[in-house]
Symmetry: C2
Subunit: 120 residues, 2 copies
């Protein structure tokens, strides 16, 4: 199976295909901590990440922001004391593109990295 963390986002326009249910069934097990939600009739991926305080939550937001800029694909990041709620979807297609699953997987990877650094 393809490893989502090894994929790069592709350029996306209004005609780009949404992920199919078959793809979701195949790929969601790679990102088990993410919830598939629908808000304003738009399907999105959302995960709450926990941190010991405000500043480490903000550092994670900054890290994800850098990743988003690199890939030219931007999420919503709600930063609060002790947690970040991260939401991925694709504005242009008003739904989920494979890019969003890739970014979710890479966000998990960034979180694991920051957690292991904090434990060092």
């Amino acid at each position: 199976m393809q490893d989502l963390t090894q994929e790069k986002c592709v350029a996306c326009n209004r005609e780009a295909p949404k992920v199919t249910q078959a793809e979701l069934d195949k790929l969601l097990p790679q990102i088990p901590d993410w919830k598939l939600i629908e808000r304003d009739n738009i399907q999105r991926l959302e995960r709450v990440f926990s941190f010991p305080d405000f500043i480490t939550a903000l550092e994670f937001t900054i890290r994800i922001g850098a990743l988003a800029e690199e890939e030219g694909h931007h999420p919503a990041l709600l930063t609060e004391w002790g947690r970040v709620t991260l939401t991925w979807w694709t504005h242009k297609i008003k739904g989920l593109h494979r890019n969003d699953l890739i970014m979710a997987a890479r966000s998990d990877q960034a979180f694991e990295k920051s957690s292991s650094q904090a434990a060092d």
Copy 2:
């Protein structure tokens, strides 16, 4: 009239007083861009700040995060492409403390500063 931007946050505990309606009537004109909202039965101050892209929105989030750390008083910051939705309230008293009005005024000041730097 006292200028909110010149005030510092005071340490706050569960017994700290919420702002009164009289105080709100007096102080809200100093922060006219803020909406008084109620969410989960908690009164909050909220403002949406607009930016030309994701990275300047994120830079504002970082700036407000630094201000929050300085004062030991932390908001919710929703960072998206082109905007930051900033919400202030006081967790401990489940409502608005004068500290929140001070932080709203100082957030406005930080925004004006970042806008004038961008225009330089």
